[in-house]
């Protein structure tokens, strides 16, 4: 217990400095902003800000980038409720009842309960993360190369399973990401691979140009194509504070959503998205008036909005305990850690307690900031929605170019980014999902090394993967998932329903 208090106060020392409070504020502000704006998501925003984090210390960098992540979950609900367009994919369900509430003149309580629900969930989620991460990282110490390899196979399998389109295409994306990560000098033998004589490629393809291209430029190009006018809800928003009846109706949903979201957030793939759908279905099932769902029921907003926030806390568990990211955002955070020369893994919490505990404390602070940003200032965000996308997009493009140029002060990175922009645009157009590619790209070097180390350990035999209990468990589950996707056509229907 004293150890815990010591750690916590260390976290306070890190997170509560003026500097880090500022970075936390920038993070949650940017998060809210991009959550409100439908054109750009947290992955794009984090990749835009990654170059800025090079110059600051790693704790501040993670504090800011994490702020964008959970901040976006707050902002995403605003557009769902007011415009019926989800700002983020995790706010799709919020449209169902949130927009109906707004049409009935109850936009205020809907926005209010979304913000309070997010706050409660974000805070409880952070408490659970704080309590379980350290013990779990002790468990992570048992992981050797074979376990890591099998776990990564499982993670990528689950991710591709839950991708919205065809699973074959999702696996293709993962394989492609893996191959891209192998460009450059092979760390074991020093051989140069797949550079085609381009010296700039010897260090490999940079994470920042890749993600900025795919999620920044690619997304902007797609949006430019389909930029249609957005009809904004005109009624005045009043009475943001939910009344007592709203609270009694939704407190159960908030608590259930929190635990559901946190638990599902730990798993790879769209844990956050899935948790919002399950939370909505669960509330409908438990409700005394299920027939009213879809007509503006406050539980239908409170549950999913809490779930998506708690899921972001859950997603930090694999990152901090095993050093393996399970979704794109935590993959980018891992990238940020590695840029600063930190080795993520089960030792991270022990070796760099300032980063882990500083981030935890900053998450409490950030959630309070977000509550303030999202309740009194809601009118400001609504005004932002009125800026046409075609006016906004040149700024975003400029930011992408400046960001990738400043990486090495060379136009080579900018060209790489633009090429991935085209690639990302085409992939989106032809229904290939980008998340498996990015995750596999980040995991790539670890994936290859753990496979090669395992084979060296075993003297070339594959049996090492099936004689170790944790490893075989992961592989069997991955195999079952693959088989079920081949034999059960139901997956398609479930995914189709989720949109």
């Amino acid at each position: 217990m004293t150890g815990f208090l010591e750690n916590f106060s260390l976290g306070c020392q890190v997170a509560l400095t003026a500097n880090n409070l500022l970075y936390c504020f920038i993070g949650v502000l940017v998060g809210t902003l991009i959550g409100v704006l439908p054109g750009i998501g947290p992955a794009g925003a984090i990749s835009l800000l990654l170059p800025i984090t090079y110059g600051i210390n790693p704790a501040s960098a993670i504090i800011m980038l994490a702020g964008i992540y959970y901040g976006a979950q707050y902002g995403g609900s605003t557009t769902s409720i007011l415009v019926n367009i989800p700002g983020e994919s995790t706010s799709v369900v919020t449209c169902l009842d949130g927009y109906q509430m707004a049409r009935e003149g109850r936009a205020g309580p809907a926005l209010g309960i979304a913000a309070f629900g997010s706050f409660i969930a974000g805070t409880i989620g952070t408490v659970i993360l704080m309590l379980v991460a350290q013990p779990l990282s002790e468990f992570g110490l048992k992981f050797g190369p074979p376990e890591y390899f099998s776990l990564m196979v499982l993670a990528l399998t689950i991710l591709t399973y839950f991708s919205s389109g065809s699973m074959v295409k999702a696996i293709i994306m993962a394989v492609l990401g893996l191959s891209l990560s192998q460009i450059g000098i092979d760390l074991v033998t020093g051989r140069v691979r797949f550079t085609f004589g381009i010296t700039n490629l010897e260090d490999g393809v940079g994470l920042v140009p890749l993600v900025m291209g795919l999620f920044g430029v690619g997304e902007i190009l797609i949006n430019l194509e389909e930029s249609a006018g957005v009809e904004i809800f005109k009624a005045k928003i009043k009475g943001l504070l939910p009344n007592l009846k709203d609270w009694t109706d939704s407190i159960g949903a908030i608590i259930r959503g929190t635990f559901l979201g946190f638990f599902l957030g730990i798993f790879p793939g769209g844990g956050a998205i899935i948790s919002t759908f399950i939370s909505y279905a669960l509330e409908k099932k438990l409700s005394k008036h299920p027939e009213k769902f879809g007509t503006g029921v406050i539980e239908g907003v409170a549950g999913p909005e809490s779930a998506n926030n708690a899921a972001t806390s859950g997603a930090f568990i694999p990152l901090f305990t095993l050093g393996i990211p399970f979704n794109v955002i935590t993959a980018l955070l891992l990238g940020a850690l590695m840029i600063h020369g930190l080795q993520p893994g089960p030792f991270l919490i022990k070796q760099h307690p300032d980063i882990f505990w500083g981030t935890i404390v900053s998450m409490y602070v950030g959630n309070v900031m977000l509550l303030i940003l999202n309740l009194p200032l809601i009118g400001l965000w609504v005004k932002l929605l009125k800026i046409p996308y075609r006016i906004l997009s040149p700024f975003l493009l400029l930011f992408c170019i400046v960001g990738s140029y400043t990486l090495n002060n060379s136009t080579f990175d900018v060209l790489v980014m633009l090429i991935f922009g085209i690639v990302g645009y085409l992939f989106k157009k032809f229904e290939y999902e980008l998340a498996p590619l990015v995750l596999a790209f980040v995991l790539g070097p670890m994936f290859e090394n753990s496979l090669r180390q395992s084979l060296i350990l075993s003297g070339g035999g594959l049996s090492i993967f099936i004689t170790r209990p944790i490893s075989i468990l992961c592989l069997v589950i991955a195999l079952l998932i693959l088989l079920s996707s081949i034999f059960l056509r139901k997956r398609r229907q479930i995914i189709a329903k989720m949109g």
């Binding site: 797949f194 389909e226 075609r390 400029l398 032809f430």
Partner: protein, 160 residues
């Protein structure tokens, strides 16, 4: 039949085969007898990519489509849709031109041109608004990136 999946599948198949050939040149097994070499992992990836490309070709050719999928497929490949490519294409053209001109013309001047053309693209009938927006953005980005964040940008032939 999903035409774009057929094409995609072919691309992945060829890419997979290419990856395998390159990997074999890199040596699959290095040094000792059982130690995987630099080409080991790319070879596996190439094989997998080839198989998946083949599956994609096979499934796109054999499987009948549901009605909604058919409509979607039409939509992606429809001629009319090609018009939609125009705006992203022009944007890309301006982006590439910007990257090429960045070093010779310098950051400030090329950024001005870049923004001006992009804003002009979105508001083709107006002159004043794109001009004001791009000039003010250039000044603002100079203050933020060069003065505050101390980024080093090419100064170009105009020395500014």
């Amino acid at each position: 039949m999903k035409k774009h999946d057929l094409l995609g599948g072919l691309i992945w198949l060829i890419l997979g085969i290419g990856l395998c050939i390159e990997s074999i040149k890199l040596k699959l097994i290095s040094g000792g007898f059982h130690i995987p070499g630099p080409g080991f992992m790319p070879f596996l990836a190439g094989v997998l990519l080839g198989i998946l490309g083949f599956i994609l070709i096979f499934s796109s050719a054999s499987k009948g489509l549901r009605k909604d999928e058919e409509v979607k497929d039409e939509k992606i490949l429809m001629k009319k849709d090609w018009k939609n490519f125009l705006i992203p294409f022009l944007n890309l053209l301006i982006l590439f031109a910007y990257v090429l001109l960045l070093e010779p013309l310098g950051f400030l001047f090329s950024t001005f041109l870049f923004l001006f053309f992009l804003f002009k693209l979105s508001e083709p009938k107006k002159w004043l608004m794109p001009l004001v927006l791009s000039v003010s953005t250039v000044i603002l980005s100079y203050l933020i990136f060069s003065v505050w964040l101390q980024c080093q940008f090419p100064r170009g032939i105009f020395r500014f």
